[in-house]
Amino acid sequence: MYQEVILDHYKHPHGRGLRDGDAEVHHVNPTCGDEITLRVKYAGETIEDVSYEGQGCSISQASASVLNDLLVGKELTDARKIQETFLELMQSKGQIEPDDSMEEILEDAIAFAGVSKYPARVKCALLSWMAWKDATAQALSTSEAPPRAEEAKTA
């Protein structure tokens, strides 16, 4: 499960540190104590920044780093698609063999496929993604009514 990519992100996290944002959330994984504080900054529908601080295992830390890589600069619609695809992969219990289209969407995050076989670690990998989802909901509800995920998809 410790793919080189994961270890790289763990040792050299991308975009770490808290910067200015529209909303901040704090998420904890009660079973292992992993924690993350995460902020999102939007420019309209575009993700301008995802900044974070946290402590936890290599999987949760690397996952936050990958998230930052993948989502910053994306449109919300695309970001949601990435998040959902990552969730699907992580909940697959090692049953999904990622295909080309999945790899195209998830890029480095595809390295987490192996983690999905370890139920105890899936939550670690998802921690920052859940925090992002939550922070986004907050940021958008304070600005304007956000498009719902379903609508966004068919748009």
């Binding site: 904890v28 009660p30 079973t31 292992c32 370890y118 139920p119 105890a120 670690r121």
Partner: protein, 418 residues
């Protein structure tokens, strides 16, 4: 050999139960007719238990090593099996307890500590029936003593059925919870769920169904029952001792407070305060009965391999046969419904003036195991003015031949004390 329509292939089934080969008292073959007290355990379940301890044993949840992951997958897999067995809308609605009694007490305690609208207090009423097992009486007596709530109950008709004639007076706007047995362990009566649930829903009361004598013997569908909680116990359905189940509707399990506190049921703990895990874990404090839950899962696999519909049909055939044959025994009086209609496979009776203890003892000398006493349902004995009953109860491995042996045994008892 007597052949009845609907019987299972007991010759094959009995091979799965090593204990049924036991020989007692110098040469008497065991005739086990005490299945309402506890069922026997097939080797398929014992194999799973052994394999668990020999290959996978570890504490569940939060482990990152292989054994812990295997044990967790097996334990949570058992929850999936139970959920499917009772057609639960969600696996998270299945709580593992140590027995049905704990399941019933769990609900009583949840309601005792609940906030409105669930809270049971001195202004509210609790409804049970006169045919409940003590495990569905005493928790409510305790709750009523401790909260001041009024305990009410449905009485019984002379032929062993619930007297629902005064249902609107028994279940009122003050009723917070109605708890009743689906199939009585002493009378065998199968109760009319729908009428009770309908009235309970009318007044907004919760419904708890004690399915301890139902889950082992018939298909159980918690959605069709429309109850809020359903309790049952593993050792009566081919599972090991030490495991029970409480099913509860998700939103109730979310809203209601925890009962036992400890490891596994928490989200986060500090010395000053704690928050709780979502159900089902919220109600499973401490190391759960891991191998027992897995054993229950194996028992469910076993029962499914035979088919709950088939088991029901088998027992109905046996019950019909037994009710008829028993009624031919002079002085024998069935306590409970005396036809096979709307009844389970537990048949209580008295035999003239011969005390059930003596009946049981003399039957035992012939290798026939029945239960005697008040069967943890003493109010039923009081209701019918008898000190106790003898009870024969059947299961998927029971045969007409065993019923014949019982009837012969009872003749012997009569001669002995005649």
């Amino acid at each position: 050999m007597t052949q009845l329509p609907g019987l299972l292939d007991t010759e094959a089934i009995r091979k799965d139960f090593p204990i049924l080969d036991r020989v007692l008292h110098d040469g008497k073959k065991l005739v086990y007719l005490d299945n309402a007290a506890t069922s026997q355990t097939p080797r398929q379940v014992l194999d799973v238990l052994n394999e668990y301890y020999e290959q996978h044993n570890a504490n569940v949840h939060r482990g990152v090593h292989v054994l812990a992951e295997e044990a967790t997958a097996l334990y949570e897999g058992a929850r999936d099996k139970v959920a499917a067995f009772i057609n639960a809308p969600s696996r998270d609605e299945v709580i593992f307890t140590k027995n049905a009694s704990e399941s019933l007490n769990l609900v009583a305690n949840m309601l005792g500590w609940a906030d409105e609208p669930y809270k049971v207090d001195h202004e509210t009423e609790i409804v049970i029936t006169e045919m409940e097992h003590h495990s569905n009486i005493v928790p409510w007596q305790l709750l009523s003593q401790r909260t001041g709530a009024k305990l009410k109950w449905f009485g019984l008709t002379d032929d062993g059925r619930l007297d629902l004639s005064n249902i609107n007076e028994v279940i009122t706007e003050k009723t917070k919870i109605v708890s009743f047995v689906l199939v009585s362990n002493i009378l065998g009566t199968h109760n009319p769920v729908e009428a009770i649930v309908r009235r309970a829903q009318e007044v907004g009361a919760l419904v708890l169904i004690d399915a301890s004598q139902a889950a082992p013997h018939m298909p159980l569908d918690v959605q069709a029952l429309q109850a809020d909680f359903v309790a049952f116990t593993g050792h009566k359905m081919c599972g090991p001792t030490g495991i029970g189940v409480l099913w509860g509707r998700q939103e109730l399990l979310e809203d209601l407070p925890p009962f036992l506190g400890g490891g596994e049921m928490i989200e986060t703990v500090s010395m000053h305060s704690s928050t709780y895990a979502p159900a089902p874990h919220k109600f499973e404090a401490g190391t759960p009965p891991i191998s027992q839950a897995i054993g229950l899962g194996a028992a469910i696999d076993y029962l499914n391999s035979i088919g709950m519909e088939n088991i029901l049909r088998h027992e109905q055939a046996l019950t019909e046969y037994a009710v008829k044959k028993l009624q031919d025994v002079p002085d024998l009086k069935i306590i409970g419904p005396d036809t096979a209609e709307d009844r389970g496979a537990a048949i209580s009776f008295t035999l003239g003036d011969i005390h059930p203890h003596d009946v049981g003892q003399v039957l035992d000398e012939q290798g026939i195991a029945v239960r005697v006493g008040h069967h943890c349902a003493r109010p039923v004995c009081l209701r019918y003015g008898i000190p106790a009953t003898t009870r024969a109860s059947f299961y998927l491995y029971s045969t007409p031949g065993e019923i014949d042996a019982l009837v012969d045994g009872l003749e012997h008892v009569r001669n002995f004390f005649g």
